[in-house]
Every structure is written in structure tokens, then in C-alpha cells.
Symmetry: C2
């Protein structure tokens, strides 16, 4: 294993939502590409969409020294820009494919790496299948990235650990803030996650010797019941004045209606047909204020969840780098149509290994939080979840501070 | 100066909104109190309101070693709990005063320290005046604290620097996040500050070699004009696709109406048919979406602005400690009815000294951002502001990380 060499050039792109770790995977691809003999490592600007428009850069011109590589690992969002471009079915419309393979051939590309989530892995699946169809020697490898942690096969996804660390730290600080006034109050933290509750579950990590943790946690994996919720909050408030709960943006009633839809008349659908959600926290905050009459506050953690690289997890940043490297090593060994995956060997001491896995079992799938990891009342996380998630937020990546602020590698995509 | 000794015991309380630095001032009061000979340093739980109910603790029992003192400096919100209790006019109703002075006498208190903002300084004014009236030997000293930076006389207020650092770092990360998609989009960051724009102005610090900074910044010190705003955004979007602007929660029209009050049924109606209380950012985001048709997003930085001690400013935490210490040194020298203030000697190299100042010129006053520090278009900050604010966010206070999260000193107020 891993004895191969890269010939010619390679190309790497980023796709889907930003994370604090996606650029560390880019750094891993770049580093391994150079080490394994790639003449050039190209970056596609704004993913496949940019590549179709011929927008690519030679990464060596941007990453000229180790310091810049370190800076890249500490830079949030997608250094190369991103896209949400869905490749058509090649059986029905092969135009994009013909164009992409022509560009790849022109640039003497031997391997193609795409850092992204479920949808991006579907692009890798399609490209590798089309490549096989036309007997192309180009290898297509997926590098996992998503704060949502909802990719199959891999133990967890790079990007999740840093988002979870920010969420847990912010929850601790918000709990602390909520305690200071001697009065009944409820704070609702709304956390990202349409279908999978991994991010919201991370609020459970706030619990420790110095913090009671979130009082209730509601994930989209379970139905949400308004009446039970109100009764529960009412009775909890008899024990303690200050309550902090975490809700996923995607919590829904048993009849399938999203809680956020109960307040928003409009709702939007993105290019992939996903419903765009806002407002479960705001809705519940208004509901509790009306029904129970206490002071309430809704806090959306918003995009900081995915871009707060100033409090990134070292474990996450290192693993993100490693999946990038391992993807390149697999390509050098002739692998195609696979995604780099993390395999957990042990929780404590935490230890993982890396391998690649058939993309067909990953693309378009979604991994939810196991129902057995949610407590009986459907409003908190079990010890199994804590054992799983705790190692993922471990360790600090000291930002490179300039003028009192974290420094980033200058963006190369267009503004 | 500063040759006096503390006799008997001292007491310290915290009041008003939480900050990331208020506990560092508490640590400063405690440390100097012990050094200057106080037998006991009492903490009042939930400020004057708690003290009136006899709720005080002996801080030595909670801070038993230097590590715990360091942990206190890194703990956000108010360690002792807070209150928003307004003392009545002692000429009309002296009951509170009689009770407070009786409690202080029972506990052999020689000096009373109150860490807070404008309203808290008014309490110090009233207590010191009443003390003079009854010829009490107890000294009353104010210790400045507010993220709003709106206290008179002092160059700046402890708490502001850390809030400004979080705001600037978050703005950098949000800008970075907003850049990745190759499409027109506007992100509006809503920042705290009803009357004073200091916090919103801090978004200007995001600008640097690696970041273009916020495209527009709107403070409550100037009137906001919707038409000018829309025209400006429209023309800016012709130069660059991705715009990020910062608005204060308190921006208002020339007729005095707050922008957040403008949210009407057209945009936000809840299921009961009532207008939802939404912020200036949400309103402007909906307005731009409707009028200009681009993707918009409103982000409220919310309570994290005041409690994100994980990215506190070293300069701020050290100065907060120092104003606490200097307050105690002044009391030991016989001073009463004054507030510890920071005097800036030089911007670069940044250097400050400390003194105390008559509380009557501080209590109930409000210091706004100088109009000359706002640019001609009323939508950005001048170089003078940058020179003023930059030193305040300098330096890092490494949190004490346990299990991947910042550790705090356990809360002593009631839950």
C-alpha cells in the first residue's frame, strides 16, 4: 500500500458549505501531491463550476513556504471558493463531462480531488463512473468535509470537531452569561443541522465540573412536541431559574412540519431542493414568553459555527490534513471512485486510522445520530455520544495572531 | 500616593451586563485588598440587591490559590452574579441606605467597590454622598466595566477591548465565509449598542492585509437613511459580489424611529398575527432582499459579544485587573466617591496610566463615538478610531483548556 507515485499534475477543488477545517484538507492534498511527485497541484476556483469555466490556479504560486501552509490550515471557509453545482446524469447529458475531461487532459491531470459533503461525493461518483466509461486513466477521489458530520462510513467528518468545539465553548459562555441575573429566564440556542443533529448534540459537551451544561437538547432525529416541551420547561423552572436549551434548526413536529415553519410564512428551497431553515429558536422563545411569561432569548449561532477557526480543534485540523494526504496516497496507488475515511480504533486513548472506501456507499447518503444516543425523554444526549464526541474537540490550534486578530491566507477566489 | 493600608474588611460587587473582563477586575480588587491588609474581602451576590438581602460570601474561601485567581480572570460574565437595582433618592427614601450601612458596619467594612457601568456609578455616587451625610468612614469606589465603552473621563472601559476583539475576529471570519460562493450576497452583522456605536465601530478592525474589512459600518451616532443605503448597496454590488456590513442595533432614522421598529407585517408576522420583534439587521436584510433581489443574511452576534472570554484581549484583561487594584489603592489612601480611570499617554507605543476621578462627572453620563471619527459618508470609521481601538484588542489570554474547552471558576451565585 501507498507505494505509488503521482505522475503529471493533480487538481483539487472545494465544494459545499465552508468549515474551519476544509483548508487543512487542501493543505494535506497539496503537501502530499508535491511529496509524491506531482509536477503541479492545481486548484479549481469555485469547484467544478469554476473548472468548467476554465478557472484554475497553480497552488505553488500561492503556497510558497511552510508558514503559508500553516496559515492555510488556520484559514476558515474555502480558500479556493466553493460552489453548489450539481452535475447532470451523464447518460442524459454528457456535455459537462466532455468539457471537464477535455480540460483535465489539456492540463495533464492524473488525479482529481474534491473536498466536500454528500453532494460533492455524488460528483466524484459520477466523474469516476464516466471516467471508467471512457477508459480515462484519471483518478477521482473524495475528501470528506462537512460540519454536519452526516457522511456514511467515515467515523466522523473533518469540520465537525471544530464546529462542535465552538458550539460547546459558546454554550458554556452563554450559560455563564445567563446565570448572572436573579430571575427566571430561558435562553434557546439554535444550532445548524437540517436532518442530522450532530451539531446540536455538541452542546452536551458544555457539561463539566464548572458548568451544568445545556438543560435540554432537541435533535431533528426525534419528533418535537410543543405541549410536552412547555410542560417540561415549566416544571424545570421550579428547580432552577436560569435555563439554557439547544435546539436544532431542523426540529419538527410528528406531522412533519418544521418548528421554524410555524412562524415563517415564506420558505425557500436551495438548488438541491433542500428547505432553507430559520427561526425554530425564535419561534420557541416567543412561545415560552407567551405561555409561561418568563424572560426569553433566542440565539442563533449562525455562520460562526462553521467559520470560527479561532477556536478550531487541533484533532480536527490534523485529521482534515491527514484525509487530504491519504486521498493523494490512494490516488498514487491507482485508486479511483473512493473517499478517504477515518476509522476509529479506540475512544480512550483516542486513536484512528485512515483508509479509502467505495464512493457509491457514501454519495447521497446521510448518517444521523443513532437514536440510542438520545436519552429516553428525547431531550438530551447519552454517555455514548459524549465518549464519541469528546476526542473530536481536543487540542488547540494556536491562530497566528497579527494586530490582535487571527491571520488568514489571502483569499484567491473572486470577490 | 498609594501609601495607605486597608483596615478591617472590604466588600466588592458586580452590577449591570456581563463582560469577559469584569471578573478580572474582581480578581484585581481581591488581590490588592489582601495585599494592602484587608482581613476579609467579601463579595456581594447579585450586587446591591443581594447585599440588601444579606447575601455575601468570603472570597478567600473561593479563591484559594493563584491558579484560581488566574481562572477567575479568564471566567466570563459576573462571577458574583449581577443586578440592575436602582437605589432611590436618599432624600426621599433612606430605608435602603440605612439597611446597607448597618450591614456594612456589622461586617466591619472599610471600603466598598462596585464594578459596573453608568448606573452602577450612580449607586457609588449616592452611597458616597449618603456616607458623607452621616459621617461614615466607609469609602465608596467605582470600578469601570462595560462592553459599551460609554463611560466618561476614562479613556476606555474594561470589557470593551475583549468585546471588540471578538467582534473584529468574528467579522473577519464571517467576511471570509461570505466570499466562497460566486454570487451576489449581502451579510448584515448586527452588533450591540443602543446609543453608543463603539462596539459596532470595532468591526472596522477586521480590515488588514488579509481582509478587506466590513464594507459599510453604521453607528447610532448618525441618522440612518434607507434610500441612501439601498442606492449605496446597489452601486457597491457592481464592484464586488459579496458585501458584509455592520450595523448597530440602535441605528435610527432622522425622525428618531429605530430601524428595528420598522419591521412590519410585510416581513415578519408570527402565527398569532403579531409583528415579531426583530432586529435592525433582520429588517435591513429583508429590505435588501425585497428591493435588490440578492441573497441576504442577518447575523446577530448576540450575547457572545460580551461573554466570549475564549478570545479575550490580554490588554483588556490586564487593564481590568489593574483598575480593580488601583481602586483599592485609592481607598487605602482615603479616597471616596471616585472611579478608577484609565488615562492614555500614547497610542504607539500604547501606554496608559491610572488614577481616580470624581464620580459626579461620570455617573449617568454617556460617552459617544466622536462624530469626527465617522467618515464623511456616515458609513465607516476614520483612521483616528483605528489608532484608538487597535491597542485595546492586542494580546492573547490563553484560556486554561480542560477537555478541549475553556475552564471557568465555578459560579457562586444562585441558579
Amino acid at each position: 500500500m501507498y507505494l505509488g507515485k503521482i505522475t503529471g499534475n493533480i487538481i483539487v477543488g472545494q465544494s459545499g458549505g465552508p468549515t474551519a477545517a476544509i483548508n487543512s484538507s487542501l493543505a494535506g492534498v497539496y503537501k502530499a501531491g508535491k511529496e509524491l511527485g506531482a509536477e503541479k497541484v492545481f486548484g479549481m476556483l469555485h469547484g467544478i463550476q469554476g473548472l468548467l469555466a476554465g478557472k484554475l490556479i497553480d497552488l505553488s504560486e500561492k503556497i510558497t513556504c511552510d508558514l503559508e501552509l500553516e496559515l492555510l490550515k488556520r484559514t476558515p471557509a474555502a480558500y479556493l471558493g466553493s460552489c453548489r453545482y450539481k452535475l447532470p446524469d451523464y447518460n442524459k447529458d454528457a456535455k459537462d463531462y466532455e468539457k471537464l475531461f477535455r480540460i483535465l487532459k489539456e492540463q495533464d491531470i492524473s488525479a482529481f480531488f474534491y473536498i466536500g459533503g454528500n453532494d460533492s461525493m455524488d460528483s466524484i461518483r459520477k466523474l469516476s463512473e464516466y471516467g471508467e466509461l471512457i477508459s480515462s486513466p484519471i483518478r477521482f477521489i473524495g475528501i470528506p468535509k462537512t460540519i454536519d458530520n452526516d457522511l456514511e462510513i467515515t467515523d466522523h467528518t473533518p469540520g465537525y470537531g471544530s464546529a462542535a468545539k465552538f458550539i460547546a465553548a459558546a454554550t458554556k459562555e452563554i450559560i455563564r452569561d445567563s446565570l448572572v441575573y436573579n430571575q427566571k429566564n430561558l435562553t434557546i440556542i439554535e444550532i445548524m443541522g437540517r436532518h442530522a443533529g450532530w451539531l446540536t448534540a455538541a452542546a452536551a459537551l458544555s457539561k463539566g465540573q464548572d458548568c451544568e451544561g445545556a438543560d435540554r437538547i432537541y435533535l431533528p432525529e426525534k419528533d418535537f412536541d410543543k405541549e410536552t416541551f412547555l410542560k417540561d420547561i415549566n416544571s424545570l423552572q421550579k428547580e432552577k431559574q436560569s435555563l439554557v436549551i439547544a435546539v436544532s434548526e431542523g426540529i419538527h413536529l410528528a406531522d412533519g412540519r418544521f418548528v421554524c415553519e410555524l412562524s415563517d410564512k415564506e420558505f425557500y428551497v436551495d438548488e438541491f431542493g433542500h428547505t432553507m431553515l430559520t427561526g425554530a429558536g425564535a419561534y420557541l422563545s416567543a412561545l415560552v414568553k407567551k405561555e409561561l411569561g418568563c424572560k426569553t432569548r433566542a440565539i442563533e449561532l449562525n455562520t460562526l459555527q462553521r467559520c470560527a477557526s479561532h477556536i478550531a480543534s487541533l484533532s480536527d485540523i490534523e485529521e482534515a490534513f491527514e484525509v487530504g494526504r491519504r486521498g493523494v496516497m490512494a490516488a498514487a496507488d491507482g485508486v479511483t471512485g473512493e473517499m478517504a475515511v477515518i476509522k476509529r480504533v479506540s475512544d480512550s486513548p483516542y486513536h484512528c486510522t485512515y483508509e479509502t472506501h467505495n464512493i457509491k456507499q457514501i454519495a447521497n447518503m446521510e448518517k444521523n445520530v443513532p437514536l440510542s444516543w438520545i436519552n429516553q425523554g428525547d431531550d438530551g444526549m447519552s454517555e455514548e455520544f459524549i465518549r464519541y464526541a469528546k476526542p473530536l474537540i481536543m487540542g488547540e490550534v494556536m491562530p497566528i495572531m497579527v494586530n490582535g486578530l487571527p491571520m488568514h491566507l489571502e483569499y484567491v477566489g473572486g470577490r
